[in-house]
């Protein structure tokens, strides 16, 4: 259903993504790993059409979306929701409004200007928030929420789009381990229950192993690994992260158990 072919993105001389190709036959939960600067974000942004590809193509259900413009591009974006590391909510607006932004593409500009959202949309927004366990926060301003709650609002906005694909760009990188787990659980459940495709950039190996059906490893813009979590051995990981023999998974781990120790240590000097 999703087919990415030799997708390339150039910034000046530099290739941030270098002819990446992969295809997905049926909705799956896919993790993209790689170290900082590997091109993960750039890849996702091209897929959502936040930025234009330099070369290559993205095809979804037979439709080539690589070069859509204007209305068509926005229509594609509404089918392909995006979740960001920094949540990218409108901080001064309340939670429901932020979730309702997921419907912007199907409502007229004028209607959204005057907050003319149908009651059914509002109800659905609350249902989605409820499903993510934060219905209580609905009337609060987004900026008043904790990071984990904000990320769930962002997921709710994505769900509100009723998308075919959810792209998540390091959704847990700004979160503490507890919240990271809640958010990843939510994404996994959405994939399982709604059957949506979820593509998730991740910093850390163990998260990818734990949540994903398939893992794509990137290094310097190129896809250097594409396989099941089981195939992702420490050797492969060293390859992806370009690390030497001293590479230890713990250093990039976000699992609760490992981190608890560190966050205790952090508390001492404060």
């Amino acid at each position: 259903m999703l087919d990415v072919q030799s997708l390339t993105k150039r910034f000046g001389d530099k290739k941030a993504v270098d002819s990446a190709s992969f295809s997905v036959e049926k909705p799956a939960m896919i993790g993209i790993i790689g170290r900082s600067g590997a091109g993960k974000s750039t890849l996702l942004r091209m897929m959502n059409r936040l930025s234009d590809a330099s070369e290559g193509s993205i095809t979804f259900d037979g439709q080539d979306v690589t070069h859509l413009r204007g209305k068509d591009r926005r229509a594609w974006q509404s089918r392909c929701a995006m979740i960001f590391q920094q949540f990218n909510l409108v901080p001064r607006m309340d939670v429901v409004s932020n979730v309702l932004h997921g419907t912007l593409n199907r409502r007229s500009t004028l209607a959204t200007m005057f907050n003319l959202y149908p009651a059914s949309d509002i109800h659905q927004a609350i249902n989605i928030l409820d499903r993510l366990g934060i219905a209580e926060q609905a009337p609060k301003r987004a900026e008043a929420l904790s990071g984990g709650q904000q990320q769930r609002v962002a997921i709710a906005r994505a769900l509100m789009q009723d998308p075919d694909i959810i792209l998540a760009d390091e959704p847990i990188a700004s979160l503490d381990p507890m919240n990271a787990q809640i958010v990843m659980d939510a994404l996994r459940r959405i994939h399982e229950e709604d059957g949506r495709m979820v593509i998730c950039n991740l910093h850390t190996l163990d998260t990818a192993r734990r949540y994903c059906d398939r893992v794509i490893g990137m290094r310097d813009g190129r896809i250097v690994f594409d396989g099941s979590p089981e195939q992702l051995t420490t050797g492969v990981a060293r390859d992806i992260y370009g690390a030497g023999a001293d590479f230890s998974e713990a250093a990039t781990s976000t699992a609760i158990e490992t981190l608890d120790r560190q966050s205790n240590a952090q508390r001492v000097p404060a």
Partner: protein, 449 residues
Amino acid sequence: MTATADTIPAADMKQTATALIARKRLIAFAAPAVILAYFVYLFFAFDILGLVDRARMDNARILVADSYSYKTHITHDNRNGGLNFAIEGEAKGTYPEGMRPEFVEPIGEDAVRVTLKKGEMAEIDGPTLRYSLPDYGTVTVTVEGRDIILDTPDGQVPDWISASSARVDITGEGGRAVVTRARTEVFHYSFGWELFWFTLDSPFYGKSFGELAGLALSGDRVMPDKSNLAAIVSDVWNNQMWRHKDVLWAIFETILMAFLGTMGAAMIALPLAFLAAQNFTRFMSVRFAVRRFFDFVRGVDGLIWTIILSRAFGPGPLTGALAILITDTGSFGKMFSEALENVDDKQIEGVSCTGAKPMQRYRFGVIPQVTPVFLSQILYYLESNTRSATVIGAITGGGIGLLLTQAIITQKDWEEVTYYIMLVILMVIAMDWFSGWLRGKLIGRGQAH
């Protein structure tokens, strides 16, 4: 979709959320509605309907046309005879004896043919004017003693001719003609600002840029007493039609007003601001008095100061500068004293703990902190005062402001108006750029206002 939490709070929340959105919707509608209501009120208060009636689009057309074109008057004196060609009908634009514009062709004694635009043509033949239009025919107007006789091909008077027994006014597509008992005038419109560089009496009139460059370099003097280059510069500089000399002086006067006013105000406001700042003046009464003084001079407004001062100092740039100075003393005083109240005490303490004298304390504890703020405000005002000086000049009689408003009020020299407006815009933009540049130089980028 499966619900994970119990649905009772969710149902409540639905109501809350719907109410919330409804409230936001109300606000979203209310704000534009209030603005709209205000505009409706203004629509009637400002009598917009009447305005639409009164608006004179033909004036707008004249204005636009005049701003990029000029007219040449071809005048026949019906009382004494004699032809005269003058640009804009002005004495200083009159063609000297023996010189004529290229669209004028002599066809006999006291008779010329004027080729106009759009195929129109006018012939002055003594007291007779023949104005021919390509798809209408020829209109003949003759002055006979005390009467003016109009003769059109079909005997009707079309609406583009205004005729009475004393005056006939023909407005064609490509030209215009007026006949009164005193004189017959044909107006020929041409593109551009004629005589912008040289007036007709200058030996350099009508020469191309290449020819001028050649002349400037050549040793053969056109005028025996000075070199060609000097002569060219002097002819442009002393151009009687556009008066570049006076205009540049006026621009300079305007900038001078802004400069003297702004800097003078800053110099006066600086010490006073210390008196108005809470942390430098203990005495409530002094502070209060100085602050009210600032409010007063600011509130009275530069306009009124201008009028008050023009009795004492008469018209001229000094009056304008002083008016700016007085108003801005108030503005600067207020801003400076606010900046002074926000100074960091740590630095002052650091200096005073060494046993520094009070003046030294101000010099090293306070001045370095406030200079960037003050400088940036002063330079910002310098730029905005260039514009104020234009307006003030219009009232006190100095600078480009006076030239501009007078040219507008006379309502006929729109090309001059355009010229002045362009100069004013350039002047303000240049000052804007200059003050930004100086700000960058003096206090470093990123610390601007």
